[in-house]
Structures are given as structure tokens and as C-alpha cells.
Symmetry: C2
Subunit: 491 residues, 2 copies
């Protein structure tokens, strides 16, 4: 009885989230600018209402009773995932929730103009407010969960992940990555690469995107492709809304973006139908989500065998040109060059951007670093990892990302965890089914079947360690990622 | 205190309705088919939640206290509009609400296949269920509101309107309309009219629609135009979502459809900003809403002076052809021909379709007619009003409309009330500002200013009689409509 009451309650909550997800997509893709104020108010009312529903006093009694009930193993996991959501919603005092959300919106809003103006002095007091409140959130979560402060934030995005584990995998990475970057750059120095010559009409780029999504098995009966300034994968698993942006001079940006988001989308579309309305039916974590997008974008789309299939699609939509030769595209899509901007980084230098942010945000939350000292630390670490300086260049340095402006501390590690999980999955898949070369060339759908069987269908029915261990034979491990980079870039 | 608590409560409800309106628009315009099941569940959960919020037991106490408080006149009206919504939501037992809604969805769903199959026998039992429950709804509303049964349903769409008033205006109409139709047909018999030659590319039709919306003052910062199978005007007043459908062979269908919906849209966009989140800030009634769409589509768009401005737009998008000559277009857009289908009817025969439906639905609800006898009565009235038979032709007879399938008895009169109100407004406007000819030719925006001043800005701050009397010098009256038809079609 209490389990089914809980199920009904969380399903209702899911329906509200469905409406919020669609209206959020609409806001980014369809809404005329003048609709923003009313929409923001409606979305905020929905957030308050959802939060109220999670704080319904009946839930505590139902949880207590359900724990005494006889449940199937899957129902037990479902119950604890409901409890996790409920606990996350209830463990903070509501005035802190309000103040944190307000400071975050204020800082994020100001950041949109302060960043282009390179105005660190204007940004700092707003950022200090967000940091101060994030520390209070972390302290409250840490107390309630028995975790360190930073781990208590990490837990929101990567349940079960601890900074001790991150330190461990990142310390290996830190040792071999700078050398690898140097060697790859040295080796690529001699290569000549042709840049595709545009312009590439947007309507054709869109048609190419749809073709590639079809090749990647995207289900258009349960989703669609649109345009937004910041690409994302939204909607609900029955109706996945994927977006990209187009640059008429650069066909790779939208193409790789669409492939990346299609990875997210297929994970969502592959979640098990019978659990979709409950927390246990959601994607496991941000790291696992990112592992799917990076599997598609990095493991698959930059693989020479896949590029052989991509090249004719480019030619179909833009005619033939020497730069579309598969060999040339393969070189182009694996070009390594240290740069200041994370979102523009290649596969090899990307983890450096993440480790830097991880070290800084961990120290900020643990009280070992103050907001005003971030630019100096940023510059130091950029020099150390990538040999680049950001002194005085805040907008391409510590002010470049949106994450900290709204207090999303603990999110960044997901990107590199995703890259590692993706490499582990590719490695396991190859051990079980044969080389990616062969699979891509002969049985592309079998790659998606493997992901469906090993990742997508499990939603949140296992913790991440179990999910990854069952799929790949061992839990989180940087070896496969290292092997992948060595083979692709120095092989 | 209690007034502001009520205000807050109804604003929250408005925010939920905002999300529902956008997701409803999305469902009709953007959603892939596979998303329908999950969306239907989410929309239904929202409906239940909104209904619960209207049944919040606190409301009754707040209403009682607010009535003792000192309020401005506008606040008092706002209070009674909140009470009207609350009363409508609470006066029915919830098992009746559930059964009525279920029978309606079932009948409507079946109708979508039974109508094309002309299957009256299959439709009848479902329709009988809906009618039976509608009678129960009407009885419960009639008891609570002290109205006759049919009037209690009418009150949902046209607050303050009574069948006695309708009988009165319709009885005049019934006397002169058949003669008028005959005379107009006789006169038009000799005319030769050219049909525009297609195909008309959809992209160009859309561009034409946007041009015409611009000419009509639609605010694209607060709205947009898309495609749906059944055109509508949805969204919220800050973000009006208007749709149309395109037929490559017939440019008039989408063009007149867009103009019609733009009338609805400008009413929504013109509602007073300070009341938008409350019931008093909503459009006055369906009849007043329809008066705006019909003002745009009939009074304005089929006026020769407007057609002079329309013709160059048609030529800009489709090149020149003899049928685009303003004189020819004016004849084409005022062609009168009795037909079986209401939504295809011209301005002159349309009221006959409405009066027929009104008489039948009133008798059905009052228990003077049974569902099984509808086809026979339909045929009688079609013969009487339009000289056409629908014997055995259910799909183009009594099964043609969606309204009765989901129990929307009492809605149909709004269309002809709208036509009458629109004619009254056009007449008053001309008395105050000069002929429509001159206004359209020289000061088109002054027409919209008049509607803004006299209709849009008043939202639901007055009852319909007061609104129309203040704007037009007298309450509902068929004279202006009659004069308009005589002048346009026999003048």
C-alpha cells in the first residue's frame, strides 16, 4: 500500500517535470523574447510546487511503512531512489534553498554581460555570494549525509563518487597527460590537413544532421532536432528534444554537436519503459550520461571506420571537395591543440580543463581557497597543464563557464568520468564482440545493442560501480582511456 | 490579507495553466507521435492538480473574509471572477466530473474514426453516455446557480447569457435570413468569378501569413505562427501561439484562417498587463473572443478597402494573375452558397448552422429531444434553413462537429454572438470615427486602437452587456449584423 502510494506520488511529480522539460525546451528553441518574464515565473512556480510535493509530510510515513513491506529487489531499489530524491529535497532549510537559488540566478544573469566585458571585479562579489551559500549547502548536506563538504555536492551529480576516488584516477592522468599532449603535438606538427571550404547552408547542415541521427539509430517517433544557442538534450525519454547550433563556415561544429547529443538522446530513449515515471527509471548519473554522448562523439564519430561512412553523407549534402576525403577528415577530427576554452577543447586536452576546475572547486568548497584567489590559481594550473597563461584574461579563464555562476560545484568531474567510462565501454565491447573497426564497418547496430543491454536498460537500477563493473569487468579506471588516447593519437 | 492570499493562489494556478497552454500547443504543433501517451498523462495530471488547487478548502474562508474587506471596485470584480472559477470547479461532485470527462474522451476518440465511416449506429451509444452525463452536469449546475439546465451550460462559455435572449435575437434572424440567402444567391448567380490558380507553395503562404499578421499589428515579440491540423490560437497573452494549415491548391484557406486567429491573438495580446495572471484579466467570453476573430476575418478582411491592401501581398508572394484583381477577390471572398459543413460556410449562411445546433442542443439538454432523434431533427432544420438534406449522411450532418462528442453543449451560440458583436463594434466604430472604407484606407491602426480601448483592455472587468453597451451604445442586438449583411451582399 505505502509503496504504491509512493509510486503514485512520484509519478505525479514526474508528470509535472515532463511539462517543465517541454516548456524549458520551448524557452530555448521556440519562445519569442517577450514571453520570457511570464515563462520564468511559470517555471519558478512549477519548481516550488515540485519541491512542495517532495516535502509532503505523508512521504516520511510512507517510506517507513514501505521499508517494512515485502518488495521485489527492483522495487527496493526504486524505493531507495525515491528516498534519495526526497532526502535531497528535504535536507536543506527552505530559506537556504531560496537564498541559494536567488544568488545563483543573480550571478548567472550578471555573468552573461560581465564575462564578455572581462569584468572580474564586477563579478567577484556576486560569485562570493554564490560560493558562500554553496558552502552552506555543502555543510548542511555533509552533516546529513556523513560526507565531506565537496563530496556532498559531488553526490548530487555522481551518486557514490568521492573525491578520494577522483584524486586517485586524476593523479595518474596528471602524470601522463602533459607528456602525451606534447608528443601528439610534435607528431601532428608535420601533418598537413585541409579545412573544408564553406559556406555550408544551414538547411543542408540540418539535413546532414538528420541523416547522421538516423545512422545512429535515433528514434524520430520519440524525439526531434531543433536549434538553440546552447545545444542540449532535453524533453522526456518518450519525447527527446535535441538541439544544435549552426555556423555557416564550420560544418564540424553542428555535426559533432548533433552526434554528441544523439548519444545522450539514445540513452534517454533506451531507458526501460516500465520504470520511466519513477526516479529509478532515470539515467544513472551525469558521468554515465556523458559517457554515452562521448562514446558517440569520441569513440565512434572520430573513429576512421565511422568517418568512412560520414564522408559520403557530407558529399551528398555539400558536394565533393578534397577536404572530405576520409583520411583528411580523420586527421581533422583528431587534431590536438591546447587552448583556453574548455568547450572548444579536443579529446586529449579536455581532461586538463576538468582537472584544473576540479582542484579549484574542491578547494573552494572545502574552504582552502577563496573566490578572490581563483584567477591566480587558474593561471598557475593552466600554465602547468597546458602551458598557457590566462593572466588578466578572465573571460577566457575562470569566467568562461556557466557552472559556478549558479553554484553547480561538483558537476565538472562528470565530463572526464564520462570520457573514462566511454573508453571502458569501448574496450569491453571490443573484447566481447570484436574490434570497433569491424563492428562499425559491418554491424553498427550491434554497438547500440551492446549499450542498450549494458547501460541504457539499467537506468538507475544499479549503483554506478555495479553498472560499470557488470558492463566492463571493472569499476572506474583510467587505463582504457589512456590506451584509447595512446592508440588513436600515437598508435 | 485574504484578498492577497487569494490573488497569490490564483496567480499560482495561472502559472500552471501557462505550462499547460504551452504543452498543449506543443502537442498540436511539435510533438512527435510517439510522445502522445506520456504527454496525455502529464496533461491529465496537471488538470487534476489545477482542479485540486481550486478545491483547496482554504479558499472558502478567504472568500468570506475578502468580502468583508475594503477593496477597490476593480478588486471586487476580480474577487467575483475568482469566485466564479472556484464555484464552477466545486459545484459538481468529483465522481461526476470524472465520469463526464471519461465519457467525453471516449466518445471524442471514437468519433475520429466513426465520423469518416458515417457510422451513426456505432456513435449513438457513446453519444448517449455523453448526453446523459451532460444532463446530470446541467442539472447540478442549474440547482446551484438557479438557472435552467441549458442556461447553466451556456453560463460556462457566455456568462450572463440566457436562452431567452438567444431565442429573441435568433427568432428575428430566422425570419429574414432564408430570404436574404435566396436574394444573395440570385444576385450572385450572374457574376463571373475567377479562382486563383495554384499551386501555392507552403513556404510562400507562410510568408504571406506573416506579412498579413504584421499588417494587422500582431506583436511577434509576444507570439508566433506555426502549423497544426486544427488551427487555433493558444499559448498565453504574453506569448500567443497561433496556428494554421496550408492547402497548396487554395491560398484563401490559410490566409483567412491566419486573419481569423490574428483577431483572437490581438485580443489576447491586448489584455491589460496588470490583471493578466488573474481570472478578471482573461478574455470576457467565447462570444466576445469570437467577435474579435470575426471582426478581423469578416468585417475587415472581406472589406473591399482591405482587399485592395491584400492583393499586392498576394502578388508579391505568388506573382500576378487575373484572379488577384481586388474586384475579383472581393467577389470571391463574399461568395454565398448553402452547404452541409459549418466550418466551410460563408458569412451569410453560417448563422443558419448555429441556430440549428442551438435548437437541437437546447432541447437535448432540457430533455425535450433524445439522442436517437437528432439525425431526423437535423435533416428537418437543414431543409428549413438551407434547403439541403442530410438524410443518411451523418458524417456531413449531425456527426460533423467535435463539440458534442466531449459534452461542450452551450458553446455553439458563441459563434453567432461573435458575428453580431463584431457587427455592432464595426457600426459603433464607424459612427465615432468615420467609415470603415476611410479607416482601412487611411488609418488602419486606428481600428485596432478602437478595439484596444473598447474591448481588449477591459478583459473581464465588466460583464458582457456592460462591455458591449459601453463600446457600442447598446447591448446585444442583431440589427447591426443584419445591416452589415444587407449592405455587403445586397448593397
Amino acid at each position: 500500500m505505502s509503496y504504491s502510494a509512493l509510486t503514485h506520488h512520484f509519478e505525479q511529480l514526474h508528470h509535472l517535470q515532463h511539462l517543465g522539460a517541454i516548456c524549458g525546451w520551448d524557452q530555448a528553441t521556440m519562445m519569442p523574447p517577450g514571453g520570457n518574464q511570464a515563462r520564468a515565473e511559470a517555471m519558478s512556480a512549477l519548481a516550488v510546487l515540485s519541491h512542495q510535493q517532495l516535502q509532503d509530510p505523508k512521504l516520511e510515513d510512507w517510506f517507513a511503512a514501505a521499508q517494512q513491506a515485502s518488495l521485489t529487489p527492483a522495487q527496493s531499489v526504486s524505493l531507495s531512489e525515491m528516498q534519495r530524491q526526497w532526502r535531497d529535497a528535504t535536507l536543506l532549510p527552505s530559506d537556504l534553498v531560496g537564498a541559494f537559488s536567488l544568488a545563483g540566478s543573480r550571478c548567472e544573469h550578471a555573468w552573461r554581460t560581465l564575462r564578455p566585458a572581462n569584468d572580474w571585479a564586477g563579478f567577484l562579489p556576486l560569485f562570493e555570494d554564490v560560493l558562500n551559500l554553496s558552502r552552506q549547502v555543502a555543510a548542511a548536506r555533509a552533516d546529513a549525509l556523513g560526507l565531506s563538504r565537496y563530496d556532498s555536492l559531488l553526490e548530487q551529480f555522481e551518486p557514490g563518487m568521492r573525491s578520494a576516488t577522483l584524486d586517485n584516477v586524476f593523479s595518474g592522468l596528471k602524470q601522463w597527460l602533459p607528456d602525451l599532449i606534447n608528443q601528439v603535438q610534435h607528431q601532428q606538427n608535420g601533418e598537413s590537413v585541409l579545412l573544408p571550404q564553406g559556406p555550408f547552408a544551414i538547411e543542408q547542415q540540418r539535413a546532414l544532421g538528420l541523416d547522421v541521427m538516423t545512422l545512429l539509430g535515433f528514434d524520430f517517433n520519440h524525439g526531434r532536432l531543433d536549434v538553440s544557442v546552447h545545444p542540449f538534450c532535453g524533453g522526456v525519454s518518450e519525447d527527446v528534444r535535441l538541439t544544435t547550433r549552426y555556423d555557416e563556415q564550420d560544418v564540424a561544429q553542428a555535426l559533432m554537436g548533433v552526434i554528441h547529443e544523439t548519444g545522450h538522446a539514445r540513452y534517454e530513449q533506451g531507458l526501460p519503459a516500465q520504470w520511466r515515471k519513477l526516479p529509478v527509471g532515470q539515467a544513472r548519473s551525469m558521468g554515465v550520461h556523458e559517457s554515452q554522448s562521448l562514446f558517440f562523439e569520441m569513440q565512434l564519430a572520430r573513429h576512421p571506420a565511422f568517418i568512412i561512412q560520414l564522408a559520403p553523407l557530407l558529399e551528398r549534402h555539400f558536394g565533393s571537395q578534397p577536404a572530405f576525403a576520409p583520411d583528411n577528415l580523420a586527421k581533422l577530427y583528431t587534431r590536438v591543440k591546447p587552448g583556453l576554452i574548455r568547450v572548444d577543447a579536443d579529446e586529449v586536452t579536455y581532461p586538463a580543463h576538468i582537472m584544473l576546475r576540479y582542484e579549484i572547486e574542491r578547494d573552494l568548497i572545502e574552504g582552502k581557497l577563496e573566490a578572490r584567489d581563483v584567477p591566480e590559481r587558474w593561471d598557475q594550473l593552466m600554465q602547468r597543464y597546458l602551458g598557457l597563461s590566462t593572466q588578466g584574461n578572465y573571460k577566457d579563464g575562470c569566467m568562461q563557464d556557466i557552472h559556478w555562476t549558479d553554484g553547480s560545484f561538483g558537476y565538472f568531474p562528470s565530463y572526464t568520468l564520462g570520457a573514462m567510462y566511454a573508453a571502458q565501454q569501448a574496450s569491453a565491447m571490443q573484447q566481447q564482440q570484436g574490434s570497433l573497426d569491424q563492428l562499425i564497418e559491418q554491424r553498427l547496430p550491434s554497438i547500440f545493442d551492446w549499450l542498450q543491454q549494458n547501460i541504457w536498460q539499467h537506468a538507475s537500477l544499479h549503483d554506478t560501480d555495479t553498472l560499470i563493473t557488470q558492463a566492463c569487468g571493472q569499476p572506474l579506471n583510467a587505463d582504457a582511456f589512456k590506451q584509447h588516447l595512446l592508440q588513436r593519437y600515437l598508435g
